[in-house]
């Protein structure tokens, strides 16, 4: 399987602020990759580095077999949709489609018109008069009209209502289905339920670092939640990795990355879903902030 994105020790510093630190990720081609993390974790920075809109201060980055840069050959393969949905408010969708034809060598304006007609979005109305969901669809249709091989979407559905979000993600997944494996997507969002439906790969950032990267089904199969009476976990930790632990005076709830079967019968073992996995890793990276949870249990 070919790799769409590969980074090694990628870093970005802005003066005194480290936006991204030692980031090593791999995203195979034709995946829909969720980019998850708290605000300020470095998601936008990573997307901008991948799109060639910012230059790294350290490490290596390879996107579609090349180094991200501001040149037409590289940019032709990249569709980047920024958080604020960049459309000219006074121009219509049709104006945008015509303008795109002048700027992009592989432009497929007809596909954008078809997509928007299917969604009953008028091509002849100023973008400023469309609803938020319609503007997002116009921006997505324009980005897809570039016929990119990698689509980078920075929180595209954050401002949309549930129905508009469903339609947007439907358009996105349909484009991936149509591409026949030629399109890779990285999608950042806080809405884990959406990501769980749509994505098959995940990159989790917290505190400017990668906490988790890989195939979602594989990661879910490797992790379990163990619940049992509170006791010493050092034997467990010799065989497995305890990612996150919530302990009360009597009970331990452990998110564990398994390395073989759990032999201790004292634990009840359950599967994890994506939300538990994400919260577990985010909680692990923010351990000091959650220390009070343990403290509450200790007092009782």
């Amino acid at each position: 399987m070919n790799t769409a994105i590969e980074t090694q020790g990628l870093s970005k510093r802005y003066r005194r602020v480290t936006a991204l630190s030692d980031c090593s990720i791999t995203v195979p081609e034709s995946r829909i990759c969720a980019l998850i993390g708290p605000n300020g974790a470095g998601k936008t920075t990573l997307l901008r580095l991948l799109a060639g809109l910012a230059r790294p201060t350290g490490g290596d980055v390879c996107v579609l077999g090349g180094t991200p840069r501001q040149d037409p050959e590289f940019l032709a393969g990249i569709g980047y949709l920024a958080q604020d949905i960049p459309l000219y408010r006074r121009l219509t969708a049709e104006d945008h489609i015509k303008a795109g034809a002048h700027l992009n060598p592989r432009w497929d304006g007809e596909s954008a018109r078809t997509r928007l007609r299917e969604l009953a979005i008028p091509l002849d109305r100023a973008a400023g008069t469309l609803s938020g969901g319609q503007r997002a669809q116009v921006a997505l249709a324009l980005t897809l009209a570039k016929r990119p091989r990698l689509l980078l979407l920075d929180e595209p559905v954050a401002a949309l209502d549930p129905l508009a979000r469903r339609h947007f993600l439907g358009t996105l997944t349909a484009a991936v289905a149509e591409s026949g494996g030629e399109l890779t997507v990285v999608l950042s969002s806080h809405l884990i339920a959406d990501l769980e439906r749509v994505c098959d790969h995940i990159v989790l950032l917290a505190e400017s670092r990668v906490q988790l990267c890989g195939d979602i089904d594989t990661l879910l199969a490797e992790h379990k939640v163990l619940v049992g009476a509170r006791k010493d976990t050092s034997a467990l930790e010799r065989a497995h990795t305890v990612v996150h632990a919530v302990r009360t005076a009597r009970q331990s709830t452990l998110l564990v990355r398994l390395d073989g079967p759990v032999l201790d019968p004292a634990y009840e073992i359950s599967d994890v879903n994506l939300e538990e996995l994400v919260l577990g890793y985010m909680g692990a990276s923010a351990a000091p902030a959650l220390a009070h949870l343990t403290a509450v249990g200790e007092d009782q």
Binding site: I32, R166, H167, L169, G170, T171, L172, T173, A174, V176, A177, E178, A193, D194, E196, R197, V198, C199, D200
Partner: protein
Amino acid sequence: MISFRVDGRSGVPPYLQIVQQVRQALRMGVLSVGDQLPTVREVVAEVAVNPNTVLKAYRDLEREGLVEARAGQGTFVRGRPPGPPPGTHSRLGRSLARWVREARSAGLDDESIESLLRVTLRADSAVRDSDSEEIA
């Protein structure tokens, strides 16, 4: 043509929900042999799931012999799911109804009955799994 629902909170993996809905449509006669299933693109555009989820569901149905993929045309219904002979459901339903009355008169409420059924199903499939491992 049928349409699918995918419930993200049901705990059943999305691909399995699609498999189950096709099987159910076949049992109910909503789908018959020769009917076409919606294309992957049509399904994902409607329910917004990963295209691989639908592909996996269709591959499973193909392996079961329920559908077939025809190159360049789509996926078509080939057969009906194997099921017990007619009358089985109602016969088992009647004996279950007797059991439920017995459980109620013994003081079990709905929640206890449901939980007992779940536990029994799980124990039974665990026994079967270990049997099949021993055979293997």
